[in-house]
Subunit: 245 residues, 2 copies
């Protein structure tokens, strides 16, 4: 196992940060490295908003599920899917760009995720910790207003970045046989494998320092799917120019 | 600059592969490392189909834009967004899962992209090359049939993996000032910065060994947006259970 693979396998979300800024220029170096992620036809369909303004950080914290580390982390980035820059560039060559296709929502969301994951790894390689904040999709319209996001740009997720103040255990993942399938999608053994993982997660939560959570994976999935998950997202995306045509 | 950042910055898509298989067990090791990517509420909403069957590889090549490296690469993986395994696990705890939300399309697509990018980096750290194949979305229904993808699973992209037979130059990326924005979305300087990048890309294409392509970034964006991009995606996703409600 090489050092890079070891780094990937040591990932855990960091939610407590030391009160210590990043050295000058490091954030730019990490973003610059992240930009080398693959991009569909090189559209580079993302923008990253670095939120340093303290009032906006506090407001983002409220809007994104009240997670205190959004204010506390040295840096907070909002990763946005961006179909504005590339289509405006295309328009300047004389074409009339078609927007609002479902495929464009996918392309820009995927591009954003790839660059963010590269960023996360670059950050972790420098001893920083990160946590993705899907909570920016709790109130995406208010957050878009706050960050002055124009049409054809939407906030996909946030990310806290800073020097870790805690070192949580690495969370076990699903058995590889459920996620890696040979030639066809075959779920024959999934029930048994998920049951095995449920026990493992139960043990993980019980052993974890400071955790009183008693739950297994299947149970932890239930609340996510027992109601309509972020039902505002459809209308928000449409109003932002991602019509899913 | 550390070794990990150097690795990220050396990424280029590989489209010519040596006729050399991966050592036994390496693919599983890479997938296993990739699984440690962040996942929204730990839903791990993806499955990876490893296509070894030669006939299916040939068929996938035809269906995904006739890119010969799909057949030639040592490995070809189809990364799928998967909302089946997690909702079925939730259902077994006694709830009736709600599916088809726009948010679930986003969550599963993002989860898939994060795990894929981790995989790409793990592979490159072992001297392998990769290329993402968005072309699996050219004919997603036929590909889903071929791979027996059930409802609530859709092919997001493919990936070729193997030992590189060529070493293309690293493609320049957009100036960091266009993608990293301070506190607000500000595009005031984007036109000038994109013009600078256009010149850089023009030079890159002209200097690249064996490339007769004369184009800049803005011009290369035009064909992507001058028509309806993969207009079948909406209906395909709906029929696959991703209704974007």
């Amino acid at each position: 196992m090489n050092d890079v693979i070891e780094l990937l396998q040591s990932h855990r979300s960091i939610r407590k940060y030391r009160d210590q800024p990043l050295p000058d220029g490091l954030l730019e170096q990490l973003v610059s490295a992240a930009q080398y992620a693959s991009s569909s036809n090189n559209v580079q369909a993302y923008s990253i908003i670095r939120v340093s303004d303290k009032n906006n950080r506090a407001r983002l914290q409220e809007l994104a599920g009240n997670q205190v580390y959004i204010s506390q982390a040295a840096e907070f980035l909002v990763f946005c899917a961006d179909m504005k820059r590339n289509t405006e560039a295309a328009a300047r060559t004389g074409i009339e760009p078609t927007l609002g296709m479902t495929e464009q929502l996918l392309v820009s969301t995927i591009d954003t995720a790839l660059v963010a994951q590269n960023f996360a790894i670059a950050a972790e390689s420098e001893g920083l910790g990160v946590v993705y904040i899907g909570g920016v999709r709790n109130n995406p319209q208010e957050i878009s207003d706050l960050l002055k996001l124009p049409k054809h740009v939407y906030p996909v997720f946030g990310m806290c970045v800073g020097y870790p103040e805690h070192h949580p255990d690495v969370k076990p993942r699903l058995p590889i046989a459920t996620v890696l399938k040979q030639d066809y999608y075959d779920s024959e053994h999934d029930i048994a494998l998920v049951a095995k993982y449920d026990s493992e997660m139960d043990e993980y939560y019980q052993q974890r320092a400071g955790s009183n959570k008693v739950s297994n994976w299947s149970e932890s999935m239930a609340p996510m799917f027992s109601g309509k998950l972020r039902p505002h997202m459809r209308d928000f995306l449409i109003s932002q120019g991602f019509e899913m045509k």
